[in-house]
Symmetry: D3
Subunit: 162 residues, 6 copies
């Protein structure tokens, strides 16, 4: 019932780049994140930490393919204040992903579906579409999510019973 | 003086499974944790993080033996909303562990003892027993801990001076 | 040398609305924040907390004038999953604020200036303008901030020495 | 359609008790929390903070009625290591609450419903019942939540269309 | 058995000053804290928060007497980058405090004792003295704490049984 | 223009030692950190986490060379309460570092300069010197940083234009 499959697999040869930052203007964090995603990083996130002299710092984490590492490191050195980067090799297990369109009173919304060993284990309404509908219709975002999840479930249950 | 030894050693071939979660009902976290411990995970913990679009998310961390990885991953995919998992290989250095019973005014309490290179470096009253005594006796939990630590120290000092 | 003054003052009659949330999809946080700022809230921020049953939850904080409270509360009840809100009365001391335009190699940038008891104590380059320049010029955001701060300082020092 | 109503209201005369703790065994936190809830506190939560000398401490927060304050303070002094407590007066706005039972394939589950100005704004499956079902049926907890939310929505929609 | 009493009491007329900071070099945090304590603040602590545009910021908290507020606010405006401060009135309940010297193998150490309604509820070895002994004797700090707590308990128990 | 170079390089064979701690007096954290830096650790930091039974714990992180691992592990076992340590192998990319002295109205201050692929990407005033000047001159620390950064920029710009 869904389309645009991508199979479940494990990516070997991924890297986690980490930098502890205790002397940077936090205003720059969203810009750093945007530029890293634009470069092709798989994920970017910050962890609040306590550093030397009790400073409340932040740890930048960037998940990327080994092939992107040099560019990602250069970007981090240019855009943050760090003098060093930790590089942790790891692998990433990714579910099979597909998108399904479901109907709501305000139009159709894509639902991202994740499968493990051939079974659907996740379904998630697409945030950007739900958020746009909520703004345009002036309704709570959670109401849109609710409607999407209900429609998804109604559809899959009726398919099962066919 | 103690019994039920387990020798100090390093476990190679351990894994740290990590999932960044920004779209899950946090009510489910304790259930996820319980099921992972029941499965045999060595440790489970959550780290508050800041994710894409500035979302305050949580990072699930599961420490387990390589042999448990497939089951642990399936459990995480079934019980959380993540579409992917990072897998970091590591090793774990564990102290020698033993238990010693010490006497308190409210009965005996096990103390967990950790040794490094043959020397005791840790001793910790068993939480569940102390908590039960505190509830039954209607006394502060910290008073029970205090009594257990005092009894442990009195006993080991008298053994030393014998 | 600056324009569009707003005098230093203390706002009595402000409120801090707080809600502890342990059962909401964190994807909604940015939408909640945007809608609260659009409504006229003075500030919105999240604090990671540990709640009942050890759940890693988040505490929503909304700073607003007493006159906005009913609308802000309704918005929070509609857009989040909370069943209750704490309301803490407080006052807010605000510095005098002014904007000054300074010249950089890439055009002029507004600098927000805060004064306390008639003395300048803060100056901050305007994030959105700096970020736009950095993107257009394909240069690090921190380089733009640096140039703005340098230009501001050069200008105020030469004014002092006139 | 629901029962056991409690009307929407604002509780004046509530207090927030806060203690910054940097010298307590964190093992005691769950016991402190349990005892405070048993005493009648309305809410208890912990906030990670950075204290004097850069210590990563925790801030205990207890929300309670003014009439419970003396007992709650005594409990905190007995069960934690703090030498002082901050007391912040505040009020709490509570939604009208009701419970509705909905049917799932594994039996009925209570849903907590919150209303603001006469309109339903929240509905939340009861955690303990869902968790019990998930354990007994050996199914994911999120599947139980999903089923409960679907059943709730199906029922309210059919009532609306009657 | 102890000396230099200060009676249990409630300080009315205290203030909590709060500033959310998202554009300051975190290196300055320890300096801000030191200067505030030197000025006479009762407590200073930082809370990691998530601010506008998803920035991982920090919230400065300063507890002080109403009479210190103007000086404390000026210091915060001079030493941080904030343009505003929240001011929350509160009261502080402080235990009776006394110091008792106890003997250890490495000399005497002061223990801070807190009493509530005439009963000892806290006793805490003085950090600075224990830390100095640990450094001079090249022993673990926790061993010093242990010895101090043991000596305190031995002494108070023998006094009770006299 | 600068001296005491250290070339940009990647250190293979580094380790990250991690311990989750939920039963230690947080007063000891600064002492643990000091002793680890004194031993030669490259970095030490704490991450607030949520552990078993919902305990707000802290994760100790120690970055060190493989050759320091045994000593670092022994120190952690002696000075904290942990019974185990995770050991994650990683590498560290370090920028070329140099120091440059710049002149301020209150004397010269070292600036740490980091270069990537031969280009300066970071410059940071030395905290300890700036902090000493601020204390001696009774001026805000941020004013000292500002003066140092301005002087650095003025100097490098005039060198560029020579």
């Amino acid at each position: 019932m869904a389309f645009s499959h991508k199979e479940e697999h494990v990516d070997e040869g991924m890297l986690l780049l980490q930098a502890n930052i205790d002397d940077m203007n936090p205003e720059w964090t969203s810009a750093v994140m945007d530029r890293l995603f634009a470069l092709g990083a798989n994920d970017v996130y910050w962890v609040p930490i306590v550093m030397k002299k009790g400073r409340p710092g932040i740890m930048l984490n960037v998940l990327c393919a080994d092939s992107l590492a040099e560019e990602a490191k250069s970007l981090i050195f240019r855009e943050t204040t760090t003098l060093g980067l930790r590089i942790i090799p790891l692998s990433v297990h990714r579910l099979s992903r597909a998108f399904l369109e479901v109907e709501t009173p305000w139009g159709s919304v894509p639902v991202k579906i994740g499968s493990h060993n051939g079974q659907v284990v996740q379904y998630a309404p697409e945030f950007d579409v739900c958020d746009r509908i909520a703004r345009e219709q002036k309704i709570p975002l959670k109401e849109v999510y609710d409607a999407v999840r209900y429609a998804y479930k109604a559809r899959t249950q009726s398919e099962l019973s066919d």
